[in-house]
Amino acid sequence: MVSVRSAAQRVAAGTDPRTAVASVVDPEIRVITIDELGILRAVEEDPASGRVTVTITPTYTGCPAMDVIRADIRRALAAAGHPDAEVRTVYSPPWSTDWISEGGRAKLAAAGIAPPAPVPAAGVVSLTLAVRCPRCGSPETEQVSRFGSTACKALWRCRSCSEPFDHLKAL
């Protein structure tokens, strides 16, 4: 909980709502913001009432981090001086890893999480996509498990440097 508070404390009073919300980090992958992850759809402020409406979308339907994300958004808005906020969740169009920004991908890689490859146009996800090791850069890697520490990640291992690493799987 300490880290959640510090995230909100980074938002200065008077920050505009969009900037405040965009600074909220993903609670399970704390190196990336919800904006960079592509789950932040819209931030709208009603000029008359000052009420802020935020629209977000989950990565996976069962993502257990959504409640924390909603709370963090409200906390960041309150810290920025916008206490009247509503967070809406939409499911269409469905989130895709293609919505992760270039900056977000670079941050994931820097944190040792291999970013996803572009989503194939159609059909079943290929099992044999080469994933580069985020530590040593080697393409000699293998999948240990298709499911990892969070719904959006798979567990991989590098055959060159022997390090295990997370891979944000293409969806």
């Binding site: 996976y60 339907t61 069962g62 499911y91 269409s92 469905p94 996800v125 498990s145 499911f147 567990l155």
Partner: protein, 241 residues
């Protein structure tokens, strides 16, 4: 079935009961990675169940939310197919159940994504991506066990023989539904046939087709599952943490 509420509730109950069964493997799966995989798949099913239950509650218009529908109905009021309530059995039985369910849910959600009901279309568009992963995972294990050792082959074939009769209920015709389940059978067969063949498994005949789940007539297993799933909510109504 009677209308959008019953249809939505049926799909919701399939996902909810499948999630509860899969969650029973947590800390008991044959290896750590599989433990995580089954928990992840259970979470996906639970996610879909929550969206579908919430929408079913709105369609009904009687003020029941997802919790009321999940925790405060008795077995006769559940509309899930018998397949998902069957006990987990050994790992091969669980993989047979997972594989057949995913081979049904993937074309189902894909068809829902294009249906006229906007809410169901949004849920289908979201859930089908996850179903594709479930199908891959189930197929991988069916092949690995079926085409593995003599013992794993024997167990996988026994599991397929055991579960197969329950797949027919998935495709019971419902022409008035947003997606008629009967239309999904060809897509199911197209996926299942080649995987069973590659796994050196024999596709069972189709003589016995137990059903009743959609009408609320369940096996003796469901009430026990519900007792465990609902006890906390019923003991402490409205409790939050």
């Amino acid at each position: 079935m009677n209308g959008p509420f019953d249809f939505t509730l049926a799909l919701a109950d399939d996902a909810l009961i499948a999630a509860q069964r899969l969650a029973e493997w947590t800390t008991r799966a044959p290896e750590m990675e599989e433990d995580i995989a089954l928990a992840n798949i259970a979470l996906d099913q639970l996610g879909a169940a929550r969206l579908l239950l919430s929408y079913a509650g709105e369609l009904e218009g009687a003020g029941r939310d997802e919790d009321a529908l999940a925790y405060l109905r008795d077995d006769r009021q559940f509309r899930n197919v018998l397949l998902v309530e069957l006990p987990n059995g050994d790992f091969a039985v669980t993989m047979a159940k997972l594989f057949f369910l995913a081979a049904y849910q993937l074309p189902l959600y894909t068809a829902l994504a294009g249906c006229a009901d906007e809410r169901l279309a949004a849920i289908g568009g979201k859930a089908r991506k996850e179903s594709a992963y479930h199908l891959d995972h189930g197929a991988l294990w069916v092949k690995r066990l079926g085409d593995g050792t003599e013992e794993s082959h024997r167990r996988m074939q026994a599991a397929v023989d055991h579960v197969w009769p329950y797949t027919h209920e998935l495709f019971a015709a419902d022409p008035a539904a947003p997606v008629d389940p009967a239309t999904l059978r060809p897509a199911f067969d197209e996926v299942v046939g080649p995987v069973l063949a590659e796994a050196t498994l024999t596709r069972p005949g189709s003589a016995w087709a137990p059903a009743g789940g959609r009408a609320g007539v369940h096996s003796e297993h469901l009430a026990y599952l519900l007792a465990e799933m609902q006890v906390l909510h019923r003991a402490h109504p409205g409790a939050k943490w």
